[in-house]
C-alpha cells in the first residue's frame, strides 16, 4: 500500500464519528492500566468483558432501531420479561437448557416484532408513545408473572455459559464477538441492512423506491427484542436466577453507548461498528472506577459529562455548533448586528 493511500485511509478513519470515543477509550484504558495494578490482570479484563455483555447485546439491538430513526424504551423491561420467561420454561415446564434458550430468543423476537414492530411499523404510531407504553406494560407483566420474587435457575451448563473459558477467552466474549460480527454482516452486506439506512435517511424516498418500510421496521424491533432476550439469557446465567429486578437502567446506558458510537437520533447515520466502542468505553469506565475504589455515582457523573461532550464535539466538527450557540446566546432579537469591518 502506498503512503498516500495509507494517509487517505487514516484520514477517512479519523473522520468517523466515533473517532473521539476510540481515542478516549484508549486513553482511559492506558490510564487505568498505569494507575491501578489490579486493572490489567486477566481476571479483571474477563470481568470487564463479561460485565459489558448485557449492555453489548441491548446496544447492538438498539442501534438497528435508532438507524431507522426510531427508539425503543421498552428493551430493559423486555429483558426482564424474557428472563422471567426463561425461568418459567426451565423450572415450571422442565424444558432442557438448549431449547429454553431458543424459546427465550423466539419470545423476545416475537414480542419485539409483534407488539412494538406492528404498532410502530404497520400501524405507524409514534415510537416514543408506543415504547413508553410497552415499557410500563412489560414491567407490570414482569411483577405479575414473577410474583416479584427472584427464582433460582439451576443448571451447571448455564453457569458455564457465563463463567467458563474457551480458547483463552470467556464464553460471553465469544458470544459477544459472534453477535457483533453477525450484526455487522447484516448491516453492511444484506439488502435488509441497506433498507435500515434508507428508512432512517428518508422514509418517503425509501418507500417511493419500493423499499417495504413496514416490514423493515417490524424486523428492526424484532431484532432489538431478540437481542434483549439474549441479554436476558446472559443475565440469568450470570446471577443463576430469573429476577424481576434487572434491566431497569440498561436502556439509558445503551442509548448513551449508541450515541457515543456515532449513530444519531435522526437515523440513517452510524452503525454497530461504533456502538461497540461506546459499550467498551462505558464498560471500561465502570470497571476502572470500581477497581480504583471510586463510588459508583461518580461513574454516572462522568458518563453524563462524556456523553454531552462527545455529542458537542461532533457538532463542532460538523460546523453546526457556533451558529446554534449564537442563536441561543443572543438575548435581544431584532436589532441587526452591525458588520465588523
Amino acid at each position: 500500500m502506498s503512503a498516500a493511500r495509507s494517509l487517505q485511509l487514516a484520514r477517512q478513519f479519523a473522520a468517523r464519528r466515533y473517532f473521539a470515543v476510540l481515542i478516549l477509550l484508549a486513553a482511559l484504558f492506558a490510564y487505568f492500566s498505569v494507575t491501578q495494578e489490579r486493572f490489567l490482570t486477566s481476571g479483571n479484563i474477563d470481568a470487564l468483558i463479561t460485565g459489558s455483555s448485557i449492555l453489548w447485546m441491548v446496544a447492538i439491538g438498539l442501534t438497528f432501531v435508532m438507524l431507522t430513526g426510531g427508539f425503543d424504551l421498552s428493551l430493559g423491561s423486555l429483558l426482564a420479561m424474557s428472563g422471567i420467561a426463561m425461568g418459567t420454561f426451565m423450572n415450571s415446564w422442565g424444558v432442557p437448557l438448549g431449547f429454553a434458550i431458543v424459546m427465550t430468543l423466539a419470545f423476545g423476537l416475537l414480542v419485539g416484532s409483534l407488539v412494538n414492530g406492528v404498532l410502530i411499523g404497520w400501524a405507524q404510531l409514534p415510537f416514543l408513545v408506543v415504547t413508553l407504553g410497552t415499557l410500563t406494560l412489560y414491567s407490570g407483566i414482569v411483577s405479575l408473572w414473577s410474583d416479584q420474587a427472584t427464582e433460582p435457575v439451576e443448571s451447571d451448563a448455564l453457569t458455564g455459559l457465563a463463567f467458563n473459558h474457551a480458547l483463552g477467552l470467556p464464553v460471553p466474549a465469544w458470544i459477544m464477538i459472534g453477535v457483533f460480527l453477525f450484526a455487522l454482516f447484516v448491516q453492511r452486506s444484506t439488502y435488509f441492512g441497506r433498507d435500515v439506512y434508507a428508512v432512517g435517511g428518508s422514509v418517503e424516498a425509501a418507500r417511493l423506491s419500493g423499499v417495504r418500510v413496514r416490514r423493515t421496521l417490524i424486523a428492526v424491533y424484532g431484532i432489538a427484542g431478540m437481542l434483549a432476550a439474549l441479554a436476558a439469557v446472559m443475565q440469568v446465567a450470570r446471577i443463576g436466577a430469573a429476577s424481576p429486578q434487572v434491566g431497569g437502567q440498561v436502556i439509558f446506558s445503551a442509548a448513551a453507548a449508541v450515541l457515543l458510537g456515532g449513530t444519531s437520533f435522526a437515523g440513517g447515520i452510524g452503525g454497530v461498528g461504533g456502538t461497540v466502542f461506546g459499550v467498551l468505553l462505558l464498560g471500561t469506565l465502570e470497571n476502572g472506577l470500581s477497581v480504583s475504589g471510586v463510588a459508583p455515582y461518580w461513574q454516572q457523573i462522568i458518563t453524563g459529562i462524556i456523553l454531552v461532550s462527545v455529542v458537542a464535539l461532533d457538532r463542532i466538527q460538523q460546523g453546526g455548533f457556533r451558529p446554534t450557540m449564537r442563536r441561543l446566546m443572543r438575548t435581544s432579537r431584532g436589532s441587526p448586528t452591525p458588520a465588523t469591518e
Binding site: S189, T190, Y191, F192, R194, D195, Y197, A198, G201, S202, E204, A205, A206, R207, L208, S209, G210, V211, R212, R215, A219, G268, I269, P323, R326, R327, R333, G334, S335, P336, T337, P338, A339, E341
Partner: protein
C-alpha cells in the same frame, strides 16, 4: 428618484463546489420596482435570501441606507424593515390567518396581553386592501394554496416595510389576484417603498417593473431601465446566446394500443375523472398552475394515494396500484419533484441510491453483489455523466443536477414501461438541464412511455408530443405541440373554457 435603500456589493455564495453567486452588485432604490430575472439556478433566490437574512454570504457586504449590516437571522432583516415573500410557504398551518399575518410581536397588545379583537380587525383591514375574501379567523392550513400565497403577501405588505422582496409571488395566483397584487405593489412604490420582484412571466416584468437586472450562472450580466429592453434582448442576456432550437423528433401518432391508458381516474375532492393515454416512446406533458392536481395525479398513478378510483391500464393489464411496490411491479417509475425528501436518500451513496429501486424486490437477506453493482454503477455514471468522485460518495455532496441524474438513472435502470416525472429540472443549473433533456430523449427512444409534469411551459413545449393542461383536478385541454402556445396553456390553466 430616491436614493439607494438596500444595496449589495460583491456578494459571493457557494454551495459546496457550486458557485451560486459571483461578485454580485444589486441596488434597490426607494420608489422603484426592481425586476430580477434569470433562469432557474441563476442565483436569483440566493441573492434575495442573502438580502433577507435567510442566508449568509461568503463574501461581500449588504448596506442599508449606506450603513453596512450583517443579518444573521430573518428576524434581523424583518426588524430592519425588509419584508419577504418566497416561493415556499412560511405560514404556520395551525394558526389563524390573522395570527399569521401579524405573526410574532406585531399583534396589538393591552396591558394584560394580546388584544385578539384588534388583531383580527387589523388583519381584516389588510386583507381588504388586497380585495381578498378570506376569513381571518380560519386556520391558514385550511386555505387553498393560492389563498395561502395571498395571505403570505398580505403579511409582507402589512409590515410597513421599507423594502419588500417578492420572489415569484405570482406563480400560483389566478389572473385577477395578480392584478390586485400589482395595484398594491404600485401603491407601495408611490409611497417610496423599494420593491424587488421576481417572475418567470415576461409580460409581468414588462407590465410592472421600472428597472430590471439580469442574473446568469451567478453573475450579474446586465440591467437598466425596463424601457431599454425588449423580450428578445432580455432572453439573450438571460441565457447568454440566441435561444437555441433544441428540438426533439416528434413521434407521429401511431395507431396502436397505448402503453398507459387511464380512464376516469379520481381522487375524491382532488382529481376528477382524468382520462389520458401515452404511447410507446411518446412524451405527454402535464401543464397547469401549482395546485391544479398535476403532482397529485402522478402520486396517484404511482400508488401513493390508496383511495384512488378509476382504471389504469398498463399494456392492457388493468388495475389501480395501491402502493409504490405495486406500481413498480406494473412497470411504473417515478421521479418526484422533491428530490431531497423523496427522490434520493441524501446520506446514502450514489451506488446505494442507484441500486435502491431495482434491487428493492430482491430477497432482503441476500447479499448485494459488489462486483456486478460496481460495473452497473460505473456504466450509469458514465452514461448519465454524473459528476462524482466515486460511486461511494454520498448523494448530498453532489450538485442538484447530478442528484437529479442519479434519481433518473435509478428509475431507468428498472426498465420501466411508464416513466412519471414531476418537475424534472427544478433547481437544476442550465447545463445539467440540457443534459437531462437529452437523457429523456434517449429514454424515449427506448420506447418508454413518459408522462411529465412541469410548471415551465418552455420545458413542456420542448419535450412533449402532447400537452394536457390541468385545472382544479381536471384535464382542461389537450394540445398538440403545435397548438401549445404560452397563451393557450395559460388560458386553459386559469380555468377558461
Amino acid at each position: 428618484m430616491a436614493g439607494a435603500v438596500l444595496q449589495a456589493r460583491g456578494i459571493e455564495k457557494s454551495y459546496g463546489p457550486v458557485k451560486a453567486l459571483r461578485a454580485v452588485d444589486f441596488t434597490l432604490r426607494g420608489g422603484e420596482i426592481h425586476g430580477l430575472v434569470g433562469e432557474n439556478g441563476s442565483g436569483k433566490s440566493t441573492l434575495l435570501k442573502v438580502l433577507a437574512g435567510q442566508l449568509t454570504a461568503d463574501a461581500g457586504s449588504v448596506f442599508l441606507d449606506d450603513r453596512a449590516v450583517r443579518f444573521t437571522d430573518p428576524a434581523d432583516a424583518m426588524a430592519a424593515g425588509i419584508a419577504t415573500v418566497t416561493q415556499e410557504t412560511t405560514l404556520v398551518p395551525d394558526l389563524s390567518v390573522a395570527e399569521n399575518i401579524l405573526l410574532g410581536p406585531r399583534k396589538p397588545r393591552r396591558w394584560w396581553g394580546i388584544d385578539w379583537r384588534r388583531t383580527r380587525q387589523r388583519a381584516q383591514e389588510m386583507l381588504a386592501r388586497l380585495d381578498l375574501e378570506i376569513d381571518p379567523g380560519v386556520p391558514a392550513g385550511s386555505l387553498r394554496p393560492e389563498q395561502q400565497q395571498m395571505v403570505e403577501i398580505t403579511r409582507a405588505l402589512s409590515m410597513d416595510a421599507r423594502v419588500v422582496i417578492l420572489d415569484e409571488p405570482t406563480s400560483s395566483l389566478p389572473d385577477d389576484q395578480v392584478a390586485n397584487l400589482f395595484e398594491v405593489v404600485r401603491a407601495l412604490r408611490d409611497q417610496g417603498v423599494a420593491v424587488a420582484f421576481v417572475s418567470h412571466r415576461f409580460n409581468e416584468i414588462f407590465d410592472l417593473v421600472d428597472h430590471v437586472s439580469v442574473l446568469r450562472d451567478g453573475e450579474m450580466v446586465g440591467g437598466g431601465p425596463v424601457g431599454e429592453y425588449d423580450r428578445a434582448r432580455l432572453v439573450h442576456q438571460m441565457i447568454g446566446r440566441e435561444l437555441e432550437e433544441l428540438s426533439f423528433e416528434q413521434r407521429p401518432a401511431q395507431d396502436r394500443d397505448p402503453v398507459l391508458r387511464v380512464r376516469g381516474f379520481t381522487l375524491t375532492g382532488r382529481i376528477h375523472g382524468v382520462d389520458l393515454s401515452v404511447e410507446r416512446g411518446q412524451v405527454v406533458g402535464l401543464a397547469g398552475l401549482v395546485g391544479s392536481g398535476r403532482s397529485t395525479l402522478l402520486d396517484g398513478l404511482f400508488g401513493l394515494e390508496p383511495e384512488a378510483l378509476g382504471s389504469v391500464e398498463v399494456d392492457g393489464a388493468a388495475g389501480v396500484a395501491a402502493s409504490p411496490v405495486a406500481a413498480m411491479r406494473r412497470g411504473f417509475g417515478y421521479v418526484p419533484a422533491d428530490r431531497k425528501r423523496l427522490g434520493a436518500v441524501m446520506d446514502m451513496s450514489v451506488r446505494e441510491n442507484l441500486m435502491m429501486a431495482r434491487t428493492s424486490q430482491h430477497s432482503r437477506i441476500r447479499r448485494p453483489q459488489r462486483a456486478r453493482e460496481r460495473d452497473q454503477c460505473d456504466r450509469a455514471i458514465g452514461d448519465y455523466r454524473i459528476v462524482t468522485p466515486s460511486a461511494d460518495n454520498a448523494v448530498k455532496n453532489l450538485s442538484g443536477g447530478n442528484q437529479q441524474k442519479v434519481v433518473l438513472a435509478k428509475w431507468v435502470s428498472t426498465a420501466p414501461k411508464v416513466l412519471l416525472l414531476d418537475e424534472p429540472t427544478r433547481g437544476v443549473d442550465v447545463g445539467a438541464k440540457a443534459e437531462i433533456y437529452k437523457l429523456l430523449n434517449k429514454v424515449k427512444e427506448e420506447d418508454v412511455a413518459i408522462l411529465v409534469s412541469s410548471s415551465e411551459t418552455a420545458e413542456l413545449q420542448l419535450l412533449c408530443d402532447t400537452i394536457l393542461v390541468m385545472h382544479r383536478g381536471r384535464v382542461a385541454a389537450s394540445l398538440s405541440r403545435e397548438e401549445a402556445t404560452d397563451a393557450r396553456i395559460a388560458y386553459y390553466g386559469m380555468g377558461h373554457k
